[in-house]
C-alpha cells in the first residue's frame, strides 16, 4: 500500500472516505449523462448549421431538450429480438459498449484538489497507479460490444459491420498505445494526475507543444477511429451495410448504443485534454473560496473545443473506404508513432542522442516508403488482393477441384 497514488486512500478507509468516494461516483455519472445529452444536441445543431439547416428547435430553448424527448420516445418503443438472434449475447451487447465508455471517464482529472472535512480529495473518480492503461484496457474491451452485437443479431450486414469494427479497432489500438507510451515517457509516470501535473506550468509544458505536434495528431486520428466516429465510420456505412452493427436493435437497446457512442466522444475529448492539453491547467485569479472552480471551467472549455473538432470532422470529411482506413493505420500511423517514440526517448536521454535517433528514423522512414512504392509498383497481382476483391475460400476450393488436370493450370 506504499505507492497508492490517491491521497484520500493512503491512510486506511473509514466511512467518511467511503461516502466521499460514493458521492464522487454518483456526481461523475450524472455529469457524464448530462454531458452526453448536451453533446447529442450540440452535434445535431452544429451539423445543421454547417449544412444550412435549422436542426432541432422545438423542445426547450434552441431545442436543447430534444435528446430527452428522443430518449423517452425510444424507451417506449417496442423491443424486438430477432428470431435468428443469440438471445443472451444480443441483450448483453449494449451494456458491453456502455460500461467501458463510463469506466474510462473515471480516470479523467476534471479539476485540482479540494479539501472536504479534512480529507484531500482529487477531482477525479479514481487515480489508479496504472492510470492511463485503464483507458487502453477499456478501449480494448469496447470492441466486444460492437463485435458481439453484430454477430448476435444473426443477420448478414450487422455481421459484416462487426468484422470491420473489430479489424479497425485492433489496428488503431497499436498507434494509440504507442502515442500513450510517448506521453508516459515524457511524464515519467502512468497516472493521469501526474500527467496533468507535469503540464501545469504553462502552455509550453503542454504535451501538445512539449512532444512536438505529431503525437497529438496521431492520437486524435487514432482515437477517432477507435470510437468509430466519422470519417472512420465504415462500421456504420449505411449505404453499404443498411445500418451497421445496430441494424437489428430497437427501443432502449438501440438508445444504449447511441448513448455509448456519444459518451465515447465526450470521453475521447476529455482524454485528449488530459494527455495533451494540460487537463484542468490554466489561468486562475486569486478569489477566496472559489479558486478550485477555475480548473474545472478550463477543463470543460477545452473538452468542449475538442468535442466541436469531432463535429467538424463529421461535417467536413468524407467517409474513408475500408482499405484506406487500414492503409492509414498500418502504413502511416504505426510507423510514424513508433519513430516519434524513438526520437522522444533519444531527446530525453541527451539532445545529441535525440538528433542521432531522428536521423536514424528519417533514414528508416525513407527505406519504408521506398518499400511501399516498390510493393505498389509490382501491381495488384503480386500482393494480397484487397479484401473486397478476394475470392471466398469456398470459391477457391471449387476452382481447385473443378480445374482440368490435363491443362495443368489452376485457372
Amino acid at each position: 500500500m506504499n505507492a497508492l497514488a490517491d491521497p484520500l486512500l493512503s491512510s486506511g478507509v473509514t466511512w467518511a472516505i467511503l461516502l466521499i468516494v460514493l458521492v464522487k461516483v454518483v456526481v461523475a455519472f450524472a455529469v457524464v449523462m448530462v454531458a452526453v445529452m448536451l453533446m447529442v444536441w450540440f452535434e445535431r445543431k452544429a451539423i445543421s448549421d454547417m449544412q444550412s439547416r435549422i436542426g432541432p428547435e422545438r423542445w426547450g430553448p434552441f431545442g436543447i431538450l430534444q435528446t430527452l424527448a428522443d430518449g423517452i420516445k425510444l424507451f417506449f418503443k417496442e423491443d424486438i429480438v430477432p428470431a435468428e438472434a443469440d438471445r443472451v449475447v444480443f441483450k448483453a451487447a449494449p451494456y458491453l459498449v456502455l460500461i467501458p465508455a463510463l469506466v474510462t471517464f473515471s480516470i479523467v482529472p476534471v479539476g485540482g484538489t479540494v479539501t472536504i472535512a479534512g480529507h484531500v480529495v482529487q477531482l477525479q473518480v479514481a487515480n489508479p497507479p496504472v492510470g492511463i492503461l485503464v483507458m487502453l484496457a477499456m478501449s480494448g474491451l469496447s470492441v466486444y460490444g460492437v463485435m458481439l452485437a453484430g454477430w448476435a443479431s444473426g443477420s448478414k450486414y450487422p455481421l459484416l459491420s462487426s468484422v470491420r469494427a473489430s479489424a479497425q479497432m485492433i489496428s488503431y489500438e497499436a498507434a494509440l498505445g504507442l502515442t500513450i507510451v510517448t506521453v508516459a515517457l515524457a511524464t515519467g509516470s502512468l497516472t493521469t494526475r501526474d500527467i496533468v501535473d507535469a503540464q501545469a506550468r504553462g502552455v509550453w509544458h503542454w504535451n501538445l507543444v512539449h512532444l512536438g505536434v505529431v503525437p497529438f495528431i496521431i492520437f486524435l486520428i487514432a482515437i477517432t477511429a477507435e470510437s468509430n466516429r466519422p470519417p472512420f465510420d465504415v462500421v456504420e456505412a449505411e449505404s453499404e451495410l443498411v445500418g451497421g452493427y445496430n441494424t437489428e436493435y430497437s427501443s432502449i437497446r438501440f438508445a444504449l448504443f447511441f448513448l455509448a457512442e456519444f459518451m465515447n466522444t465526450v470521453t475521447a475529448s476529455a482524454m485528449i485534454v488530459t494527455l495533451f492539453l494540460g487537463g484542468p491547467a490554466g489561468w486562475a485569479p486569486h478569489v477566496a473560496y472559489l479558486r478550485w472552480i477555475f480548473p474545472i471551467l478550463w477543463f470543460v472549455a477545452k473538452t468542449a473545443a475538442l468535442a466541436f473538432t469531432y463535429v467538424w470532422f463529421r461535417g467536413a470529411l468524407p467517409r474513408l473506404r475500408y482499405d484506406q482506413v487500414m492503409e492509414l493505420g498500418w502504413k502511416r500511423l504505426i510507423p510514424l508513432s513508433l519513430g516519434w517514440l524513438l526520437i522522444v526517448a533519444g531527446f530525453l536521454v541527451k539532445p545529441a542522442y535525440g538528433f542521432a535517433t531522428a536521423a536514424a528514423v528519417i533514414f528508416a522512414g525513407t527505406l519504408l516508403s521506398r518499400a511501399f512504392e516498390i510493393g505498389a509498383a509490382r501491381g495488384p497481382d503480386a500482393v494480397l488482393t484487397p479484401v473486397g476483391e478476394r475470392p471466398s475460400p469456398e470459391e477457391e476450393v471449387r476452382r481447385y477441384f473443378d480445374a482440368d488436370p490435363d491443362q495443368g493450370s489452376g485457372q
Binding site: 505507492a3 484496457a137 474491451l141 466486444y144 463485435m147 489500438e173 498505445g177
Partner: protein, 187 residues
Amino acid sequence: MLALTTTWPDLLVFVTAAALIVVGALGVISLRNPVHSALSLIVTLFGVALSFLEQSADFLAAVEIIVYAGAIVVLILFVIMFLGVDRHPRDEVEPLVGQRAFAAVGAIVTVGGLVFLMARAHWVTGVMSASTNGTPLASGQGEITQLGQSVFTTYLIAFEVTAALLIIAVLGAVQLARRDRESEVEQ
C-alpha cells in the same frame, strides 16, 4: 495457511477471483457454441487479472486485460466470425480420435505438476513473497520500474529473442497467406 495470514478483504477477493477463473474455465470447455466459449474465456482472464491485483501486481493486471482480453480473444472471435460458425455444430463425429484420453492424461500431468510445485516452492510475488526476502514487490510505478529494469538488463537476451521470434512468426504468416499469382500461372 491462507486463512491465517490474510485479512478478510483479501480472502473475499481471492475467492471471487478463483470462482471467476473456475466458472470461466468450465464454461470454455462445456459450452457448445464457440463464441460463448470465447466469452467465458474472458471471464477467466478477468479472474486472473483480479488475482494479479490482489497480489499488488497492478501492471500485470492491466496487461492481462489489454493484451489477452483486449486483443487475443478479439482475434479468436474474429476468426470464428470470419469462418461463419454453424449455430448447431455437428459434434457426433469426433474430429480427433482419442482426444478425450489425451486430454485426461494432460490434465492429470498438469494438475500433478502444479501440486508438486506448490508443495515445494514459495509464493513468487505479493505479500507472501519469499523470492524478495519477505519484501513485496512495490505496486504501481515501482512495480513497472522493477519490471522494466529486469527485462532490459537481466533478461535482455531472452526478451530480444522473443521479439525476434514474434517477427519471424509474423513474416511467416504473411508469406503463407499470400498467393503468388504469377507462379500459379507458370505451373
